[in-house]
């Protein structure tokens, strides 16, 4: 049981209602609202799943099933930044394993871990569909292309 209260502001609730109104069945807005919840609460713990379920008249089990199905929802707290390195075929052929090793060493974490200072969560992910710029990675909302160790260092240095 968590004691943290997770609720949207009045403004956010209005946005939830607007989103629900866009779909023939309001439940269509579940994924967008879960994105909102993650933005608002940092991640989506069980308490947030229950809260969102209530907004939709859905069972918490249904929301849990959805949250755990998709890779972009975090059930555990994540770092202030998420660095996701593509490990699929074109990036692999362009040296993605070396990039991943380099980032692991620089950050001192393994895949799916967060640095002690809460700065960065590291992921190794499937194709992000930017294979023409392999090896590449996603840093939060941004795609970073044509990586080499020096470029990776510059990108990591910008993350606070």
């Amino acid at each position: 049981m968590t004691t943290v209260r997770m609720e949207f502001s009045a403004e956010q609730l209005a946005e939830v209602r607007r989103l629900q109104g866009l779909y023939p069945d309001p439940r269509g807005a579940l994924l967008p609202v879960l994105h909102m919840a993650q933005d608002a609460f940092g991640h989506i713990p069980l308490a947030a799943e229950e809260y969102v379920a209530g907004l939709f008249g859905l069972s918490p089990a249904h929301v849990h099933e959805v949250v755990t199905f998709y890779t972009l929802y975090f059930q555990q707290p994540k770092g202030r930044h998420v660095v996701a390195i593509c490990h699929n075929i074109s990036c692999y052929l362009a040296g993605a394993p070396r990039i991943l090793e380099h980032v692991k060493q620089r950050l001192g974490v393994d895949v799916d871990e967060t640095t002690d200072d809460g700065r960065v969560t590291l992921q190794s992910v499937e194709c992000l569909c930017a294979c023409e710029h392999a090896p590449m990675m996603q840093v939060d909302d941004r795609y970073e292309f044509d990586l080499n160790p020096e470029k990776v260092d510059r990108i990591l240095a910008r993350l606070r």
């Binding site: 779909y23 269509g28 199905f69 699929n88 075929i89 394993p97 190794s124 992910v125 569909c129 294979c131």
Partner: protein, 421 residues
Amino acid sequence: MTEKILTRNFDRADAHTLGAYRETGGYTGWEKARTMEPAGITEEVKKANLRGLGGAGFPTGMKWSFVPKNHTGPVYLVINADEGEPGTFKDRYLLERDPHALIDGMLIAARAVRCEKAFVYIRGEYVEPYRRFAAAVKEAYEAGLLGDGLDIVVHRGAGAYICGEETGLISSLEGKKGWPKVKPPFPAIKGAFGMPTIVNNVETIAHVPHIVNRGAAWFAGLGTKTMGGTRIYSVSGRVKRPGIYEESVGITLRQLIDRAGGVSGNGRLKGVVPGGSSAPILRADEIDVTMDVDGLRNAGTMAGSAGVIVMDETVSIPEALMVVARFYAHESCGQCTPCRESTGWIYKMSERILSGHGRKEDLDTILDVAKRGAGTTICAFYDGAVGPYISYIEKFRDEFEALVTDGAGTRARATPAPVAR
């Protein structure tokens, strides 16, 4: 050089704006289509031999004609912008650089199938393409193009390859995990929210304004006998100039690799995956094939999403198998037993082979499991997965045997990265 149609504005810095799109003839397709009968639009698209460019290659006009004529409730148009097939990146360009072409095509398609509400499902990782496209939708509303007969909802996915499968996408759009649905009923009969639904790929719909404007015969003439038009090839891997190339669907694979500057690495081709990672690999001596749906099917592979992944002689096919097997194991939605179990076990076996601990019988076991499972599942995901499993082993068996013949002790070139599951 083939005329650029879909990519003609890609070099303009302002290509994503309504002003730039209109300057180059944008929305004149829609202006013409709104004077046409819906059935006439569908007929034109049929005659153009436009085929779905997301992967399945199904004739677009025929798909539209499946919406029941006597249906009186809503019909939905859903654009599949859940681009995720490894080696494919064309829709990212279309969403970012020419979003109004998609809206233009959607207006026309919506008229053809009598749809008043459309959804665009964009993969969750595509944040910038989402913003660009959402901004274009806003412009179109402000210009009165939308909101008067058609509404567009832009929907973000949340990370799951299976949602690119049209019924998995529909489940996801309905607020569920992205499990594919049993067909029939096909979406055109009973799709999103229980209503007739047409699911089309971004690039497919971006072609529609040009077909209406310049005619079916013109479009059909750009391609082969059974598939019209150009398409955007995503070329990556070991080529000198990876990127997007808009070419006739009648181009050969050899010509396309040349367009991309030829083979890099050691300069000598080993194999090419012609249509995204699910397409069976072709050997260097099999690339004089046309890239249309039927040409590649006759060559034992598929056009798929036109993601061309080039491998030079220095690439280890057992390593490549491990990488793609890891992908299918991670992305299997888990609904059907043959897919869930086989993708997981085949990935483990591919790692074992690569680490030098493979057994001689592993190769035949993988082939056996792959062949038995194909066609036994709800969707085409597993059929796609077996494409690489079977073709990599059958066409490059000697490379695999070199790793398993002496049993334990052989080490592969690279240590695979651990998979996050």
